[in-house]
Structures are given as C-alpha cells and as structure tokens.
Symmetry: C2
Subunit: 161 residues, 2 copies
C-alpha cells in the first residue's frame, strides 16, 4: 500500500484523566467506563498500556488514561471520585491544558518510519509527547496545549501538507 | 450520529513489547521508533498513557507499549536490547501469545456506553484486558491469545453481529 499522509489535525477541546494503580483484573475497565457512561460522559481516547507489578504488593496493576471534552472534565472527575474507594482507584490525575495533534492518511501501518518522523519533528521542537495512540489511518499525540500551533506548523512542514 | 457497530475482528499475528520507565522528555519516543524503523520493523499499535514520577528519583517517567507481527518480535527485541544502555531503557517486557480483538463501527465517539459494554462482556467472561486503544471507528483490546475465540463469540453476541 502506498504511503499517503493527507492532513494534520488539532483538537484543543480535550482534557486528560489518568487513573493509575488499578488492579489488573477483569471488570475494572468496565466499572470505570460504566460509571462514566451511566452519567452520559462521552470519552474520546482510551489508552491502556501493559501492566506492571505494584511496588508494594507485587500484584499486577495498570494505568488507564482517557480524554474527555474540556467542559466534561469536572463532572468526570467527580464521578470517579465518588467510586474511588469502591474500585480501589489509587491516584486520579487530571490535566486540562492539553491538545491532541494527529496525522491522518493511509498506508501508515505498512510504512515503519511514519511514526518515527512524527515523534522526531516534535522532539526537535522541544515538544514533549504526553500520550500516544495509533490506528490504521491516524497517529495521535497528546501534547501541552501551549505547543499546539507550533506542533501543527512543524508537522505540516515535515509531511509537506 | 447514529451508533452502528458493524463487525468484530481478531488478529492473532501480534506480539507486544512494553518499554517501561523511560525518561518522559522529548526525543525518547523518536529514538525508540527510529531504531525500529531503521531496520524496517513495522509497528502496529503504539500506546503511551500519562507519565508518572519515578519512585526512586522523582523525575517523570513513562511506559510505551507497542505491538509488532509475531515473526518480527525477536528482531525487535534485539534492536531494543542493543540501544538499551544508550537510551536508558529500564525494562523491556515482551509477550508473544496475545491477540487483538476489535469492534468496528461508526458513531462510537458520541455514544458513551459502547466501550463500557465491550469491557463488561469481556469481564463477565473472565477475560483480562491487557491493552486498550480507541479511534473514531474502532475500539481495540489486547487479550491473552487463549481467549480469542471466546472473546469474538461473546462480543458478536453482545453487539448482535
Ligand atoms: C486494568 C483493566 O483493564 C483490567 N485488566 C480489566 O480487564 O478490566
Ligand atoms: C515518553 C516519550 O514519549 C517522551 N515524552 C517523548 O516525547 O519522546
């Protein structure tokens, strides 16, 4: 498949929530996202990487990060706060001033250098990548909102958009 | 937008690699994925959730997980092993026997209960979710390969596919 990167997009109407140290067993992700969907909170990105063992107890724990519309952040935070004890959620961290920048295209799965080029151009411009999520047609990076305009500019230049 | 979940897909030709405890500063993601793309390793999912501070030093560290074709796992592992000291990669964990199961559809972003339903049906069937990644048209879960057939069956039933 030929590689074509068609556009760079930005979304500043995002806020991120990171629930860390959850027990890595069936039912935890369902509990968290049912608590949110029961109150009609729409979630944008959901990101969970691999488990690690808890430094204290040795049992496997994991982190789940997700993003919501900025206007929903406080409501989402309250909902998780209310179920925190029941679900044994250790830490709930939020950050409001983030943005999601993405490149959209096709053939990205079969071309190994595309993600590396995106990460490199952000690194050269001293922009830290806070979250990463990929699909067949899109690579998304969550960055600090203050870097949004610069990120979009240097990505557009790198991929000749 | 109307919610339509069209299909459930499985991909057993996956292996996951988790690089944990990397310094959370610009350039680290670029270094890792350049090392892989220089040797033509194609990466499927890349997942990085939010940073935490390192228990020892207090400086921010992060984990980056990604999946490759199973046939590429050993080559990818060797490449990371070779750059490990230079990049200060603390732990490199791999798991070969995984599978990615996904639901594909439209309108999932604006319907908050879809992800929760997927996670709940896996939980009811005692299937642990090892990684999660979402896009506008897809929600993917990495699970243990031994649960693939059961997962696909119960997901298809839940979403009437
Ligand atoms: C951490 C969480 O995803 C857990 N593994 C679950 O299956 O619900
Ligand atoms: C951890 C890694 O993603 C780092 N934040 C970077 O920007 O490269």
């Amino acid at each position: 498949e030929k590689l074509v990167v068609r556009s760079v997009t930005e979304d500043r109407d995002q806020a991120k929530i990171n629930v860390s140290g959850v027990p890595d067993r069936p039912g935890i992700a369902a509990d968290i996202f049912e608590a949110l969907s029961d109150k009609n909170i729409c979630v944008d990105m959901i990101i969970q990487s691999s488990a690690k063992s808890s430094p204290e107890s040795g049992t496997p724990v994991n982190d789940i990060s997700f993003t919501v519309k900025r206007s929903e952040l406080n409501r989402a935070r309250k909902i998780l706060g209310a179920v925190r004890k029941k679900m044994r959620l250790r830490d709930i961290l939020v950050k409001e001033n983030i943005a999601k920048v993405s490149i959209v295209g096709s053939g990205m799965k079969t071309h190994s250098g595309v993600a590396a080029r995106l990460f490199r151009v952000l690194a050269k411009n001293k922009i830290n990548i806070e979250m990463i999520s990929t699909s067949e047609i899109k690579i998304s990076c969550v960055i600090d909102e203050k870097n949004t305009a610069k990120a979009v500019k240097v990505i557009a230049k790198e991929f000749k958009l």
